[in-house]
């Protein structure tokens, strides 16, 4: 299979499947493209975590896992599309509202869009050498080659002496390997270094556009200023090696960079929508999305198993002090269940 075909398959799995999957989720009728794309990815990541962990412990072969994962994603996408189609018939198509909105885009937003596309081109076409690839990307290539899930040491190519407990509950490299396999065995390094940075950087800006929509509504001028400022904040973060913006720019094929730059900001947005819906015209986020958000954070990094519940815990604490939001505390805490369970497993391993 030639490179173009593999690239097309990767595009299908990374860009077309997630928004289709969002049709399965309980989203507000007014949910637009960015929200659908991002919530679709919550399902993509959550399904990866739910399927990989049992496959790992039951010792399924990797190709079985990848095949099942692909089938589930495909079935979910088809079902999601049917539901979306029904919704569009009832409420008018996204394309109708796109035409309406195209006329109201401000000059700041256009400038921001151009700069964002330039950034995406830079992260896809230029390379960044990060030596952590010796573990993370090599785990993906090793998984693909050995057909075993986290049983072979990526450093040597020989079986692990002992279980890599620090990484086993957050098998993001296995997700990478699955997408590679589903894309006609596209080399994981090409997927990780060339394609994923573009996708995840775009997702980070989609999250920021959700903040802009929440805070400034239909005011295109303010949304444009907000996004333009974000572009500068992210691009000129090069004097730090710790900030999430830098991780996102230079290491976005690693789970912790996606956690820091995309998932945690998106989870923050979901928490705001869940615990403070009145501030955004009472558009409430379903508890299920919070739950999937936590599960997705678990896939990306062991840091996610800790940081996601810390975030929710602090939101719940704030909610406890307001009578009108007190009833949200328990559901909010229950959404942390994936992290609590996996945290307990991590401590026992």
């Amino acid at each position: 299979m030639n490179m173009l075909m593999k690239g097309a398959l990767a595009f299908f799995w990374l860009v077309l499947v997630p928004p289709a999957l969002s049709g399965l989720l309980p989203l507000d009728r007014k949910a637009r493209g960015p929200e659908r794309f991002l919530t679709g990815y919550l399902l993509v990541f959550s399904l990866a975590e739910l399927l990989t962990l049992p496959a790992l412990f039951i010792r399924f072969s990797f190709h079985t896992l990848a095949g099942v994962y692909g089938a589930v994603l495909l079935a979910g996408a088809v079902a999601g599309l049917f539901r979306l189609r029904k919704g569009f018939r009832k409420n008018g198509t996204e394309a109708d509202s796109l035409r309406e909105r195209a006329g109201s885009v401000s000059v700041f937003l256009w400038i921001a869009l151009v700069l964002i596309l330039l950034q995406i081109a830079v992260v896809m076409l230029l390379g960044h050498r990060d030596q952590d690839d010796a573990f993370y990307l090599a785990t993906a290539t090793t998984t693909l080659r050995s057909d075993k899930i986290l049983r072979v040491n990526p450093y040597s190519g020989y079986p692990y002496h002992s279980f890599p407990k620090r990484y086993v509950l957050s098998p993001f490299p296995v997700f990478l390997a699955c997408i590679s396999w589903l894309s006609g065995s596209l080399h994981p390094a090409i997927l990780g270094h060339m394609l994923l940075p573009g996708v995840f950087l775009a997702m980070a800006y989609l999250v920021l556009s959700l903040y802009a929509r929440r805070w400034f509504g239909e005011d295109a001028g303010k949304r444009g200023i907000f996004l333009l400022t974000c572009v500068f904040l992210i691009w000129f973060s090069g004097n730090s090696t710790y900030r999430s913006e830098v991780f996102l720019l230079v290491r976005s094929w690693q789970g912790k960079a996606v956690l820091a730059g995309v998932l945690l900001p998106f989870l923050f947005y979901l928490e705001l929508s869940f615990f403070r819906p009145a501030a955004a015209g009472n558009r409430k986020t379903s508890w299920l999305l919070l739950f999937l958000g936590h599960l997705s954070c678990c896939l990306l990094s062991s840091m996610g198993i800790l940081l996601a519940p810390v975030m929710t815990g602090l939101f719940a604490l704030q909610a406890l002090f307001r009578r009108e939001t007190r009833h949200l505390v328990l559901p909010g805490l229950l959404s942390m269940l994936p992290c609590i369970c996996l945290g307990a497993v991590y401590l026992r391993l």
């Binding site: 490179m3 700041f108 830079v122 230029l126 390379g127 960044h128 050498r129 030596q131 010796a134 573990f135 090599a138 090793t142 080659r145 040491n153 990526p154 450093y155 040597s156 190519g157 020989y158 080399h187 390094a189 090409i190 270094h193 920021l208 929440r214 805070w215 005011d219 001028g221 303010k222 200023i225 907000f226 996004l227 333009l228 400022t229 974000c230 500068f232 904040l233 992210i234 691009w235 000129f236 973060s237 090069g238 730090s240 710790y242 999430s244 830098v246 720019l249 230079v250 820091a260 945690l264 900001p265 923050f268 403070r276 501030a279 800790l306 940081l307 975030m311 602090l314 604490l317 704030q318």
Partner: protein
């Protein structure tokens, strides 16, 4: 017990302070963050948007420095990465929000001045990702160092030429880091920083390779104990690279400064003779 706990919490607090200042790295960007927080508190505090981020940011910062929480989190994730808790702070949306509210409340004409000033400050106080040296042009789709694909191809050619059924290498840290990212069919005695060393001989080889002045007698002796069939070493002096062949290693090629040797079967004998 209480004294020990108190001491641990004091230590954790100290670690939190040092990692807080390390996170911002003394940059002017932190001033921008403080300016944004100041604007949001004193000028835009009643806006719902400010109420979304400010209480959360204060609570999160408080948690970061709170000794019992700091101690617990540091014990769970490790002290050296405690600074990652600061990823919970919504720095980008907070600063962008402050700039947007400032520019939009100043009126149309002042906004056209204020916004560029703020963006210019960001550009000057920070560093763009290109000039920071984060990116470079790569010459292969996998975006690994240029010599890696060439070395891997050479290894497979030599594997076939010598009738070997696998490629098993010992190399320096640079090659050991990238080879299996590009080609996972190649086995290694150890990976990056000697991780995954298959046994103590492999660990000794790595230690010698990275010692600064490697003792090739020790390397060769330990190579002969393993079943490694290729060794990859960096040399700037080609004469030195040829001397190594005295260990029963056949030089099969070189890529840039890296020399690739096939470990012949009489290596052990030659090493014993040298002794």
């Amino acid at each position: 017990m209480l004294q020990h706990l108190t001491q641990a919490m004091v230590q954790a607090f100290g670690q939190a302070c040092s990692q807080w200042s390390g996170f911002w790295e003394g940059s002017r960007f932190f001033l921008f963050v403080l300016f944004s927080v100041f604007l949001l508190i004193f000028f835009f505090g009643k806006q719902e948007a400010a109420r979304d981020v400010l209480p959360w940011s204060v609570l999160c910062t408080f948690l970061f420095f709170l000794p019992p929480a700091a101690l617990l989190i540091q014990r769970m994730i490790g002290e050296e990465v405690y600074w990652r808790v600061l990823w919970l702070l919504p720095v980008t949306p907070l600063c962008a929000l402050a700039v947007t509210l400032l520019a939009s409340h100043a009126g149309r004409k002042p906004a056209w001045l204020l916004l560029p000033v703020c963006l210019l400050f960001l550009a000057v106080s920070g560093r763009d990702a290109l000039s920071a040296g984060f990116f470079e042009r790569m010459h292969n789709y996998q975006q690994v160092p240029t010599e890696i694909p060439h070395i891997c191809n050479l290894l497979h050619e030599q594997e076939a030429a010598h009738g070997q059924d696998r490629v098993y290498i010992a190399a320096d840290n640079h090659i050991a880091t990238w080879v299996r990212v590009y080609d996972p069919s190649i086995l290694q005695a150890y990976g990056r920083y000697g991780n995954g060393a298959v046994n103590s001989w492999a660990a000794r080889i790595y230690d010698q390779m990275e010692s600064g002045q490697p003792d090739y007698d020790i390397i060769a002796e330990n190579i002969s104990n393993l079943t490694v069939n290729f060794v990859i070493l960096p040399f700037t002096d080609s004469e030195k690279a040829l001397e190594i062949c005295g260990y029963g290693w056949e030089m099969v090629g070189h890529i840039n400064d890296y020399y690739i040797y096939y470990v012949t079967e009489n290596g052990e004998e030659l090493i014993a003779q040298k002794k």
